[in-house]
């Protein structure tokens, strides 16, 4: 077979664009385009081309429009782009609009049975005889919908220069080498490839070429990574309730735990996974497990976070370690369940009534999801408190090109747990909530500790430092002051911000999945002559480095994916004396940020944007 990319480009006088464009696959959801799309992503990845994928799917099971964006970026940028040059238009309902969305010079691949108006002359149209190919291969009607997608795989291969060998490799891997599945799929792709080879005159400039951009990289989604991190973090009890986009994190645990965490000696599970009846029960189970001494976690998102509010406050106050993965989706309310946002920062930090304040970690990508997967348990155990990890739908459910995961660098930190011997050595007594070392953290014992004086009573009501019930004003106040001291101590335990200094007085601040867009935005700005510094905040409460960065810059732009500029709000709250330097660039339409957006908004920003102006 001849890759079209190997032939001289015909019909286009524009310069060839290699490994630097985006393919947008428009299909109907539930039609089984996942395999086809994953094939493309993996083929590009194995051709050494930096790639990333953003799945824009609807909140239903079958029949609504869905788009899958695959970006090739020779420079290694992995943010979503605002435009896609190559449109695979396989959805009759959206084809006309999909055409309209193409940039000038774009490419339109479509199955020849779809009718639409070719009302643009500035794009290349490639019709694919999809039905004919399916007929040729005599595909069982049951599999027809799914396998027809291999037509565009083959066509893209031929037209753009994607290697068919890599297509084959991926199909083999995904179907476990079973020829009965691999062959029919591959053959359809091949037919499409051959059709293009013979019939299509390439009139566009886009090409894919093998390069060496992905050394030591892996392709993985953040939820899988988080699950794996938790497995290596020694998770004991998982309690969860299905909800998009948090479900696949629990699925990851359901897959990996039996594989990696059965005791080889006995075959017994060193874990338990419970699908709870709802999120109130899920967090209740964590409270019980954390109290009893197992590492306990859940994965959920906004509605679940709201439902967990009462028990999250209980765990904060009764000082019970547990980990809550909040894979954020778009709110308020049910919102857009299949769209991304960073809208739960305030909700998680302040979750529950009455002066509660939590620890929140903010991973940026699958690699950090893996790390926070295990580290969150260490932090929770050391602080004896709930730890939230605010991932999001983009990190959690999309395939990311990621650095390889690093095996935990330190042994587990289980915090101040007294054994029976410890209690005996203390004279058969201990003070559960006494702060001996200024960290605000007291010692605890676990149920079952066989020593007189080891037992204590845990409650959500006022207590002395020996855990006895108290309504005395002084006891109450001392306890809250100690909890605040613990919050200060937390600043020293949580991951410090990641700082990119280029000597500018203009600093960008962001968190989590905004990172790729910031990196690309900074590169665009740099090219325009505007150098920026950048701090990626990795946790609440803020560590001292956060303040230092802000103090060292004249103007700070806080770029985030929510409506109210929540990170900016918290930074201003924390640093009133620096508040006027902090400007908010908040955006909230359900799509991951793009580098173009960041660059445009930073350029535009010359006036002070207070939260009020942003909200107006």
């Amino acid at each position: 077979m001849t890759q079209l990319a190997e032939r001289p480009s015909a019909g286009s006088d524009r310069a060839t664009i290699v490994n630097d464009f985006t393919i947008n696959v428009a299909t109907v959801n539930g039609s089984g385009s996942q395999t086809a799309n994953a094939t493309i992503v993996n083929a590009l990845f194995h051709m050494g081309i930096p790639v990333n994928a953003k799945n824009l799917f609807p909140s239903n099971i079958k029949g609504l429009p869905t788009w899958y964006n695959i970006r090739a970026s020779k420079d290694g940028f992995t943010a979503r782009r605002d435009t896609a040059e190559v449109m695979v238009a396989f959805n009759a309902k959206t084809i006309q609009q999909d055409l309209a969305d193409l940039p000038s010079g774009g490419v339109m691949l479509y199955p020849d049975h779809l009718k639409f108006e070719q009302n643009r002359s500035d794009v290349s149209y490639y019709a694919l005889p999809a039905n004919a190919i399916m007929k040729l291969h005599n595909v069982d009607v049951k599999f027809r919908d799914r396998m027809i997608n291999m037509v565009y795989v083959g066509a893209l291969a031929q037209i753009l220069g994607m290697e068919m060998q890599e297509v084959h490799n991926y199909l083999s891997k995904t179907f476990g080498g079973r020829a009965k599945l691999v062959d029919p799929n591959f053959n359809i792709a091949k037919s499409a490839f051959e059709h293009c080879e013979q019939n299509i005159v390439k009139s566009d400039p886009f090409r894919l070429e093998r390069m060496d951009g992905n050394k030591d990289k892996i392709m993985v989604d953040g939820n899988t990574a988080a699950a794996l991190g938790a497995v290596y973090g020694g998770v004991g009890v998982v309690a969860w309730y299905p909800i998009t986009p948090a479900t696949s994190l629990a699925d990851g645990l359901t897959d990996f735990l039996p594989r990696l965490r059965k005791d080889p000696a006995t075959g017994k599970a060193t874990f338990a996974i419970v699908q709870a009846e709802d999120e109130l029960a899920a967090i209740g189970m964590l409270v019980g497990a954390g109290w009893a001494g197992a590492r306990a976690m859940t994965s959920t998102c906004g509605p679940g976070i709201s439902l967990m509010s009462e028990l999250a406050g209980y765990a904060y106050f009764a000082e019970i370690p547990l980990v809550i993965w909040n894979v954020q989706r778009m709110g308020p309310s049910t919102g857009l369940p299949t769209r991304v946002s960073q809208g739960d920062l305030l909700a998680t930090y302040y979750l529950s009534h009455g002066d509660t304040k939590h620890v929140v970690l903010l991973p940026k990508d699958p690699k950090e999801c893996f790390e926070f997967g295990w580290r969150s348990f260490d932090i929770a155990d050391q602080l004896q408190t709930p730890v939230f990890v605010n991932s999001d739908l983009d990190i959690g459910m999309n395939l990311w090109m990621s650095d390889r995961f690093e095996y935990p660098t330190e042994p587990m930190k289980r915090g101040k747990v007294l054994s029976a011997d410890d209690v005996k050595a203390l004279g058969n007594t201990f003070a559960r909530y006494r702060d001996e070392d200024g960290t605000g953290v007291g010692p605890r014992t676990l149920p079952g500790t066989d020593a007189l004086g080891a037992a204590y009573f845990t409650r959500g009501t006022g207590h002395t430092d020996t855990a006895t019930y108290s309504e005395r004003p002084g006891d109450w106040q001392n306890n809250l002051i100690r909890l605040d001291r613990k919050h200060e101590y937390a600043r020293t335990l949580v991951p410090a911000p990641e700082i990119h200094s280029a000597g500018s007085k203009l600093g960008i601040i962001a968190m989590g999945s905004a990172d790729p867009a910031i990196l690309e935005g900074r590169a665009i700005l740099e090219a325009l002559g505007l150098t920026t510094d950048y701090m990626r905040v990795r946790a609440l409460p803020f560590s001292t480095e956060v303040r230092e960065f802000i103090a060292a810059h004249d103007e700070l732009l806080v770029v985030e994916l929510n409506q109210h500029g929540q990170l900016a709000i918290l930074l201003r709250t924390e640093y009133p004396e620096l508040a006027t330097r902090i400007k908010s660039i908040a955006h909230c339409d359900g799509l991951p940020l793009s580098g173009e957006f960041v660059a445009a908004r930073v350029t535009k920003n010359q006036t002070v944007l207070t939260s009020k102006e942003v909200n107006a």
Partner: protein, 346 residues
């Protein structure tokens, strides 16, 4: 121990005195039914020679839910939030399967806010003793009707209750509980025997104990009052907990006694009293409850017993070492295994 005949030996089989099972002084109203149940729990644990540190005590919120502080000081206790004790118990028992969990809840805590969790903990068969101290009112918030209050009942403060009561025994049976009993705080002997049986049962044992609120719902007319209970209690059977099955002494006519063997040796011996009731038959149990409701009798005893269901600890195939105590070597897989997994991602 000496062989001198004393009414009760001072030390039990694990060498503890009754006072080793005490809790703090109660802050409930003098005469509250809940306090007498606490006393029975102390008795039962002492008699079963349970080591206090092997117990965990759990509760929600309410006067009833305060009571874990008033027994077994030597056990870890956790007073959770209103209605959510079941989920906390589930997590705790998964984390440490070797503890004996004693949960205390109220009719409000279980029947109102906690109904969902109650049904689901029963369905999951979390091994524990689940005690509902049922007084037909919300004691701690000063006497509103709960979901088990009598239909048509009037109370000075709460007005008239227009709703039919939920029957928490029937709810437990329908949801799949293997041990369901109703009792009366005024019937000390029965409560003690039931508690011992429940503590020896494998799976969830639900005890719905009518426990009068002397401050807000102790009117003669209330089915949750002492006087009503004393007048209307109809024990189905005389219950004797037998520590070892083979020790059962057949003092009675064989037809008069049913013995139910429990998984680890002990048994409960039920000597028929007023009613013909087969406690191993689910429909018969529901019928018993329905009849009692109509007749106004406070039918007490083991309504339903069936130890055949697996507990959550079994179905989850949880390690013999409590998850809470597993060493790092079992909690963190090897470095190589991670390399191996990552092959999936390239």
């Amino acid at each position: 121990m000496t062989a001198v005949a004393t009414p009760e030996p001072k030390f039990n089989a694990v060498g503890l005195e009754k006072s080793d099972y005490k809790g703090l002084t109660s802050t409930l109203c003098p005469g509250c039914g809940h306090d007498s149940i606490s006393t029975r729990i102390i008795d039962a644990a002492y008699q079963l020679s349970i080591k206090p540190h092997e117990v965990i005590k759990l509760s929600g919120i309410g006067c009833s839910s305060k009571s874990p502080a008033y027994f077994l000081n030597g056990a870890h206790g956790i007073n959770t939030v209103h209605g959510r004790m079941p989920s906390v118990a589930t997590g705790a028992m998964l984390a440490n399967r070797h503890q004996l969990a004693i949960g205390v809840s109220g009719d409000g805590d279980t029947g109102s806010i906690g109904m969902g969790q109650f049904k689901h903990i029963v369905r999951r068969n979390v091994p524990m003793v689940y005690i509902i101290e049922n007084n037909g009112v919300y004691g701690l918030t000063k006497g509103q009707f709960s979901a088990t209050a009598d239909e048509g009942q009037s109370l000075k403060y709460a007005g008239t209750n227009e709703l039919p009561p939920l029957d928490l025994c029937a709810e437990a049976i329908i949801a799949g509980a293997g041990f369901v009993a109703r009792s009366f705080a005024g019937d000390a002997k029965q409560v003690s025997e039931l508690l011992k049986a429940a503590m020896s049962f494998k799976g969830i044992a639900v005890l719905d104990i009518i426990s009068p609120c002397v401050t807000f719902n102790n009117d003669d007319k209330s089915t949750k009052s002492y006087s009503y209970g004393k007048e209307h209690e109809v024990p189905i059977h005389d219950i004797t907990f037998v520590p070892e099955y083979n020790e059962i002494s057949i003092d009675y006519d064989p037809g008069e006694v049913v013995s139910v063997k429990l998984h680890d040796g002990p048994a409960v011996q039920l000597r028929k009293l007023s009613k013909d009731h087969n406690p191993t038959d689910k429909m018969s149990a529901l019928q018993l409850l329905e009849d009692a409701k109509r007749s106004g009798e406070l039918v007490t005893g083991i309504v339903y017993i069936n130890e055949s269901r697996e507990t959550i600890v079994d179905t989850e195939d949880v390690h013999e070492i409590a998850l809470a105590h597993l060493p790092e070597s079992l909690l963190r897989p090897s470095r190589e295994s991670l390399e191996d997994v990552m092959k999936d991602f390239v």
